[in-house]
Each structure stands twice: as C-alpha cells, then as structure tokens.
C-alpha cells in the first residue's frame, strides 16, 4: 500500500487475486446482489401483478407468468385519469407557488436588513419543526367554516387543499433558498441598482435566474412531497372526482377481500413512474439538497 497517493485500479487488480480479492472486495458484490434483490423485489412484484388481467391478491403470486396490458387499459374508466390529473395539477401548482413564495421570502431575508429579521428567521426555524398534519383537525374545522364564505376555499375543494399546502411552503424551503441566495454576490444587485433597476426588476429578471438550481430542487421536493401527501388530502377531499392519486389508490387497495389488485398494481406503476424518473434524473441534486437542509 505504498501507492496510496495515486492508486490506480490496475495496481489493485494485479495485487488482489483469488481468496484475497474475495475477502476484500468480492464479498461486497454478494452483499450488493442480495441488497438489490431486497430493494427491488416488491417493485417487481407490483409490476408483475399489474400485467395480470383481473388479478386478485392470490393470483398475483406467480411472478411474470402472463404479460397482458388489460389492467392498464381498464384504469381509464375507473377514475384513475381524473385522480392522476388532480395529483399533477395540485402538485404542480403547489410546487410553483412554493418556489415563488419561498424565493420571494428568501430574497427579502437575504437582501434587506429590517426590524425583526433575525426573530422571523428563528421563528420560521421553530415553526417548520411542527408538521401541518398535526393540526389536521383544526385545518378541517377551518375549511368547514371557510366554505360558507368562499366555497372554493372550503372543504372538499382542491383550491382549498392547495392553499393548505402553501401554508407549509415557507418553512424548510426558505432556509434552503436563503443559504443559496447568500452565495450570489450582492455586488451584482448593487450594480443593477446603480443602473436604475428597481428591486422588482432585480428580483424577477436577475436573482431568480441566478438561483435557478435551488429553485429546481425546491420545486422538485415540493412536487414529490405533495404528490405523496395523504392525511390532509384524505381529510379535505371526500368526493371521488376530486381525489388525488394517494387517496384514490388507497381506496382500491384498502378493501382486502374485493380489492381490484391488478388494477391497483397498474395504477401504482403508472403513479410511480414519473416520480422514479425524476429521482433518477435529478439524483445528484436531491442528495445535495438532502444533506444541505435535512429534508425528508
């Protein structure tokens, strides 16, 4: 091990053969294979179940014996399309709103010095420790009384649900963004100000472009989080045509005896594909986002 300054793989391969290679490196591959089997077998199972027509729980155990897309076709008459659309719209609007509101707040905290700035930052840090779902009863009662005044903001309405989600938008995200905004040098805004730009121009046309990477991360985390949110969505939305994927698919899988298992599996695969694709595509950013702001 004298070549640690510049270890090349060839050196190791020349050195390690047979038993020595196995005790130091080879066994790791065995662990890897076992680990992958553990990680993906439920996913293979659900994929297999989705390809079996009229599958029930027990009929899904024979993995990949049939390849039939009829479950995927049958989804569309059963409300799945509506739920998927609802989920996409609700998650997208929430993500955009979160980015805009969080970005604006982070800009204010990063660029202006005003009374109560430190205190508000600390307050935000404390508030974000308490998830909104703890107040689910109060949110439900609040939406009940809002319904009399603004029907579209009340219970069983998607706009109302989006507003609830936006209520939790500032917490974590402001900190992620605040840190990133601080890395953009203030000299850039000073120069623009001297050229006569207003604060609104600086914000919309310069800063938001410079911090685009963190905006993308926050939008993604918000989208994924809203997409999988269940308890508030279930409390607020009761009519089948208004439900999100999480609430709708839960209904299919909840009733064990009569569960349309094949249908649920197909819905689960379709619901998961966009999220998995986003993850794989943006893996790098998510990891840095995770370690930077402790999100999950």
């Amino acid at each position: 091990m004298t070549t640690t300054i510049n270890p090349s793989t060839e050196v190791h391969q020349n050195k390690l053969r047979g038993a020595a290679w196995f005790t130091q490196v080879g066994w790791r591959h065995i662990v890897g294979v076992v680990g992958i089997a553990y990680a993906i077998f439920p996913l293979l199972y659900v994929l297999s179940a989705s390809l079996k027509p009229n599958a029930t729980l027990t009929g899904s155990n024979n993995l990949f014996s049939v390849f039939d897309l009829s479950n995927y076709q049958a989804l569309w008459g059963k409300g799945f399309g509506t739920w998927a659309m609802n989920s996409l719209v609700i998650s997208s609007v929430t993500a955009i709103g979160t980015v805009l509101m969080g970005g604006a707040a982070a800009y204010a905290f990063s660029r202006f010095r005003f009374k109560g700035r430190e205190a508000s930052l600390t307050a935000l840090l404390i508030i974000q420790m308490f998830p909104q779902m703890l107040a689910v009863v109060a949110i439900f009662l609040l939406l009940l009384s809002l319904r009399d005044v603004f029907p579209f903001l009340g219970a069983n309405n998607q706009i109302g649900l989006i507003c609830v989600y936006l209520g939790g938008a500032l917490g974590v995200n402001t900190f992620l963004m605040y840190g990133f905004f601080n890395t953009v040098p203030r000299e850039i805004d000073e120069a623009a100000k001297i050229d006569g730009a207003s604060h609104a121009q600086i914000f919309w046309t310069m800063i938001l472009r410079l911090v685009a990477p963190i905006l993308a991360v926050v939008a993604l985390l918000s989208f994924v989080g809203t997409y999988g949110e269940f308890i508030i969505a279930k409390t607020v939305l009761s009519h089948p045509s208004k439900m999100t994927l999480a609430v709708g698919l839960y209904q299919w899988a909840a009733d064990e005896r009569n569960a349309p298992w094949g249908l649920f599996a197909a819905g689960a695969v379709l619901a998961a594909v966009p999220i998995i694709a986003l993850f794989m595509f943006l893996q790098k950013y998510i990891v840095s986002g995770l370690t930077a702001g402790s999100v999950k």
């Binding site: 604006a104 107040a135 207003s198 990891v287 995770l290 370690t291």
Partner: protein
C-alpha cells in the same frame, strides 16, 4: 430618490395595480359574504389581511414586506392559526353532539323536538323547486298564497291558485308526482318555518299532498335560560358541559361547545377507557420512532461502508438500484407491502414461506414487527444516501493514520468514522426521528393501526402511533371527539419539540468536540 420606481417599471406597475385590484375585489367580496353568514373570525382575518396587503404594496418603505407578504399570509392562516386553533379546541368538548354555539344548539333542539299539534290545520301543499334545485313548499294561508324554504320562512307571493292549491309560481317549478317520488326523502325531511320565530312551528308533509303545522314540544325561556317540555312540564337547565339537563339527568341533544379546561388532557391519564390505549400507543410511538431510525441507519451505514471502497466495480449501478425504494412513492409501498403480507394470499406466506399462514398484520407483536420491517425497506436508502455523502467527506489520511497505528477495521469504524459521521448526520437523524414519530401514512396504510384493542371505545390498536390515534379519534371512531384529538396533537407538539430541542443541543456540543 423621487425618481419613482413606478415610472421605471411601467409594465410592472400596471401588473401590480391589476393584481391589487383583483385582490381587493376578492377581499371585499369575502368581507360581504362573511358578514352575511356572520362568520366573524373570517371577517376579522380578511380585513386585517387586506389592510396589510394594501399597506405592503402601496407603501414605499415596506420593501421586505412586499416579498414576505404572500408566504406569510398562508403561513399565518394555514399553519400558525391552525396550530393556535388546535390549542383552543383541545380545551373544549368540540365534537359530535357539541358542534356549535349555544344559540344554534337551542334552535336545533327546538326543531328536532317537534310534534304535530292536535287539531292543527291541514294545508293542501305544492312542492316547488327553484332554479338552484332547492325545495320549497307553497300553501294558501289566510287566503294568501305563500312560499317558503328551509332557510326562508313562509312569505306571500303572486301565484296561480286552483282549489286552494298553488299550481304555478313565478321563479319556481311545481314538481309533479314522479319528481316528488324521486326526491321523496328530501321532501319528507323539509321543514319550512311559519315565521322567524321558532315558537310558531313549521310546516311538514308526509305525502306531499297535505302539510301540517308542527310545533316545538319544548319551550325556551330566554330570561331563565331553561327549556320546558310543554306536555310533561319537565324543566331542563343548562349545565357547564354544554347541555340542557333535567333534574332526572335526562340530556337534550345537541349540546354546544364549552371550554372544559384540562379535561381532555387529564382523561388521557385518568379515564380508564382512554388512558389504557393512550399509554400503550405513546410507548409504541417512541419505540417505533427510535427503532425505525436505528434500524434504517444501521443498514444504510453498513451498505454505505461496503460500497465506499473504490475497488468495487459498478458502484454507481448498485447505488441506483439501492435507492429505488426511496424513489417509489411511500404511500404506494405501504399498500404493496400490505398485499404481500396478507395472511392467506400474500406473496410472503404463499410463495416465500411455502403456504404458511403467519398473521403478519393481525397479531399484535408480529404487526409491530412488520411495521418496522417495512419501514426498514422504505427508509434504508435515505440513510444509505446521506452516509455515502458524508463518508466521502472524511479525509483519507485520518483513516490511513489510524491504520498505521494498528487499529483494526472495527476500531477504526467505532473511534474514527462514527464520531466524524455523527457530526453531520445527527441533525438528520433527529429530523428522521421526528418524521417517523408522525409517520401516519405508513401505519394507516399498512395496518390501519390494527389489530384493534378489544373493548376500547376508541377505534385504536396495537400499531397505532399518536398521530394515527389523533386521526382515528377525530374522524373514524364513530363519535367524533375533536377536543380529545386536538389534545393528543398538543402532546405530540410538545414531545417532538422537546426531543428536537434536546437533540439539537447535543449535536451542537458534538460539533464543538
């Protein structure tokens, strides 16, 4: 400085004016309708919010406020207010049977306890429907055609009358027999008050052809604040629990919302029916959150250490595969596992265990084990990711030095890697603890909290954690008890807050090391 921003940014200024006009229109509309339904809380909130918006966007000095306003308004309404409201509800008996104010309860009691008075006149009735499909009754009273709905008492209208029965009213359709049959239940439930005074009684019909006057059997005496039964003479007086009660202890429903002090909190510890399940659930919540973090961290760290060796080929592939469970939406995983763990038909018993019938989800201890095992599957990729990330930031020469000093790998891990790793992962572990403390969807989707405790009035069970207990008490346990549910929420607030606070203090001391 008088060079106004507005002139520099014309398009923006017009956009702002337009948006503010929209916002103000929306706010004014809200103020009017809040006034109309006497929703004073909403009214006050709106007024304050609207004034703040106009101040923030038309003042020249409040630049930070312009950027903070949108986020803060949502934060105030949907997070801070709902937290405060949770606190308030926790001290009331809000729930089924105590849903509203005292005056609402009085009018509800009066109208639920109605009898047809002997000898009250029968009116030939016409069932009407307005443009919005709301039902109404039309009768001829004192020679005058009159129409009323459940919200608006009878009032005179111009109508065509044949044989004492209304046959046409402008703005309404007279329902024929078939249409009445279709909405039969609504028709028989409809009560049209004779006047604004509940004492005068209301009009009801059983057959949609003749209607009778029903009047309240109870009488409310506002000066003495008592209810009297006109037939039996029993007097009901209000108690401090929000109910009218007779001397014999007979209660009138519904009641109204009253403050009950710490009762919801104390009942968790003293009321046998609640305290037994509550203690079990509280202990399990801590155990579940702790074990979840411990198991996922152990597996994630082990895998990260194993694949941190640069000599292992295909590490990228292993990583991509191992994080798949994290990428799969959590609510779906829990449901898939629920299917796979099914006692009779699930994949685990049927295929992997060759047809065994192990009650994974219906035996109290096995269900707890299953919840942890599924959460391990869900959670280890996250720990794997963060451990991989932080392992790479540990300088190689430190490890080299340890090796030189003759430390075996186990010792290196314990004395060098772990302490360094902890500095950056400890806050994440605390966050993960807080997350699992409230991991509602896993519990709700996998076991539904079951198997349920036998004989408990609350619909809770062995795998319920505190947050799923809140949900069950508020929405699923037959009788909704918002007050008790909110009290449990408050306890979770306190527990999570305390743990995070202690945890973060400890990690700060780690950093100083």
């Amino acid at each position: 400085m008088d060079n106004g921003r507005a002139r520099n940014f014309k398009a923006g200024f017009i956009a702002k004016l337009f948006l503010m006009a929209l916002l103000n229109a929306f706010g004014l509309y809200g103020l009017f309708s809040a006034w109309a339904v006497s929703s004073w809380g909403v009214f006050t909130g709106l007024a304050v919010g609207l004034i703040a918006a106009n101040w923030a966007y038309f003042s020249r000095r409040a630049i930070p406020a312009k950027y903070l306003y949108p986020g803060l308004i949502f934060l105030f309404v949907y997070q801070l207010f709902s937290m405060a409201y949770t606190g308030y509800v926790a001290f009331t008996n809000y729930g089924d049977g105590h849903n509203s104010t005292k005056s609402d309860a009085i009018s509800a009691i009066l109208s639920y306890n109605e009898v047809r008075l002997d000898g009250s006149p029968a009116f030939p009735v016409a069932v009407l429907e307005d443009g919005d499909k709301n039902l109404a009754f039309g009768i001829v009273r004192d020679g005058q055609p009159q129409v009323g709905t459940s919200d608006n008492p009878l009032a005179s209208v111009d109508a065509t009358v044949e044989n004492d029965r209304i046959t046409a009213v402008p703005g309404y359709t007279v329902l024929n027999f078939n249409q009445v049959v279709q909405r039969q239940q609504e028709v028989t439930e409809l009560r049209v008050p004779l006047s604004d005074d509940a004492k005068d009684g209301s009009l009801r019909t059983q057959d949609a052809s003749s209607a009778f006057v029903y009047s309240p059997i109870l009488e409310y005496d506002a000066s003495a604040d008592t209810m009297t039964n006109k037939e039996t003479g029993v007097v009901y007086t209000p108690n401090d629990r929000g109910n009218f009660v007779s001397d014999q202890g007979e209660k009138l429903t519904p009641g109204w919302r009253v403050l009950v002090g710490f009762e919801n909190f104390t009942s968790m510890f003293t009321d046998k029916a609640v305290s037994g399940p509550f203690f079990q659930i509280a202990v399990w919540t801590f155990a579940f959150a702790f074990l979840s973090v411990a198991t996922t961290f152990a597996l994630g760290l082990a895998l990260a250490l194993i694949f941190n060796d640069p000599r292992v080929r295909g590490r990228k592939f292993y990583r991509a595969m191992l994080i798949l469970p994290y990428a799969f939406p959590g609510f779906l995983s829990a449901l898939v596992w629920k299917g796979m763990l099914n006692e009779r038909f699930g994949f685990i018993n049927d295929v992997l265990l060759g047809g065994a019938s192990i009650p994974w989800l219906s035996d109290p201890w096995l269900a707890k084990f299953s919840v942890l095992a599924v959460n391990l599957w869900l959670g280890f990729p996250y720990m794997f990711l963060i451990c991989t990330g932080t392992l790479q930031s540990i300088p190689g020469d430190v490890l080299e030095a340890a090796k030189m000093d003759g430390a075996n790998p186990w010792r290196v891990l314990r004395s060098v890697i772990l302490p360094l790793l902890m500095i950056s992962t400890a806050p994440l572990l605390i966050a993960s603890f807080a997350f699992n403390f409230n991991n509602f969807s896993l519990i709700y989707m996998l076991t539904g909290g079951g198997p349920n405790f036998a004989g408990s009035p609350l619909l809770v069970g062995s795998t319920d954690i505190l947050i799923s207990m809140v949900y069950s008490v508020a929405f699923e346990s037959g009788v909704k008890q918002y007050g008790l549910a909110s009290a449990v929420s408050i306890l979770i607030f306190i527990a999570v807050g305390l743990i995070s606070w202690i945890g973060f203090r400890r990690t700060r001391s780690l950093e100083e090391l």
